[in-house]
């Protein structure tokens, strides 16, 4: 059956994401538990939100006594970048049903986006396979955050280089995207702008501003 192939190919493409999420999820669980959340509450947040960095920020804001409204607004600004990612993915998904697209939207993270985008770009990829990538990543995230909430105190901080899992993943995912001169130039512009802006502007808006400016510059460079 086709569905079995989708599953195998989705898992093959997605397992490194799970490997990266596992330690981060555990770390999040530990932090959230220290902030006073129960494993059930932690799991519920992972199910409803499924966005690592904003969950970390939310928990640290909660421990600092922030209001619900300010946490939600911060979450919005942190995750607004996914608007750009979903826009990029939408180009490949014109013929799909909207119900399925809505399910797919739930699982768009930095990592699943990057993996799925490159697979769509290479061809031989479809929504079923990308849903497998999203949902094994989602399952890993939810499970590891809950496990972290239960047993996190037994895992020493900074063990096994876990702090580096996502950085290493980003390094490789970025390399996947560098498929020609204009991509390299765009990435360099985005990186430099992001560093400069991140030093000037507090918060995470530098990600979107730098990406939009760099991609715009990239289009002009491609035209010239």
């Amino acid at each position: 059956m086709n569905s079995k192939i989708s599953l195998t190919q989705g898992v093959t493409a997605g397992w490194p994401i799970c490997l990266g999420y596992l330690p981060i999820g555990l770390a999040f669980g530990v932090l959230a538990q220290k902030a006073g959340l129960t494993p059930f509450e932690i799991g519920l947040m992972s199910v409803f939100v499924f966005a690592g960095s904003s969950q970390f920020i939310a928990v640290s804001m909660l421990s600092a006594g922030a209001t619900v409204a300010s946490v939600i607004i911060t979450t919005f600004t942190v995750n607004l970048r996914h608007f750009l990612m979903s826009s990029s993915l939408s180009v490949f998904l014109g013929r799909e049903k909207r119900t399925k697209l809505s399910l797919f939207a739930y699982g768009v993270t930095d990592e699943s986006f990057a993996v799925n985008f490159i697979k769509f770009k290479e061809g031989d990829w479809d929504l079923d396979r990308s849903l497998v990538v999203n949902h094994i990543a989602n399952f890993t995230w939810i499970t590891s955050t809950v496990v972290g909430g239960y047993s996190g105190q037994f895992i020493p901080e900074r063990a096994f280089g876990i702090d580096y899992a996502l950085i290493a993943m980003f390094i490789c995912l970025l390399i996947f995207q560098l498929r020609g001169r204009e991509y390299v130039i765009t990435a360099i512009i985005a990186g430099i702008l992001a560093v400069i802006l991140s030093l000037i502007i507090p918060g995470n808006s530098y990600i979107i501003i730098a990406s939009v400016l760099a991609a715009t510059a990239g289009v002009f460079i491609r035209k010239s």
Binding site: T38, M45, H82, F113, Y164
Partner: protein, 106 residues
């Protein structure tokens, strides 16, 4: 569980889902102009670089420029490995190992 927490995670869920959902739901059925498609094609490279570089070059809150920290030094061999192998899983494992090693040595 306090009802305030339920409101919190539902609110966080909605503001996270909407930006992920709106383009997929509305844009995918439209024929976008070529220039927009080209622009969107460059977004992944831009966004991943914008996520990564500040992570490697800055520390603290408020952020400060920090060159030659272990994160950046480990990134060099990790980058080369990723470039040569194109293996996402291998890169993650190697990066973690090298960072662990750097923590032992430095």
């Amino acid at each position: 569980m306090k009802s305030e927490y339920i409101i919190l995670i539902i609110g966080m869920g909605i503001v996270t889902f909407l930006p992920r959902w709106i383009p997929l739901f509305f844009l995918s059925k439209r024929n976008l102009p070529d220039i927009v498609i080209e622009w969107l094609d460059l977004i992944p490279a831009a966004i991943l670089s914008a996520l990564l570089l500040p992570e490697l070059l800055t520390t603290g809150d408020p952020r400060q420029l920090t060159l030659f920290q272990p994160k950046l030094l480990v990134a060099v061999p990790t980058f080369i490995f990723a470039l040569k192998t194109k293996s996402l899983g291998g890169t993650v494992v190697l990066g973690m190992f090298l960072f662990w090693l750097a923590g032992r040595i430095m």
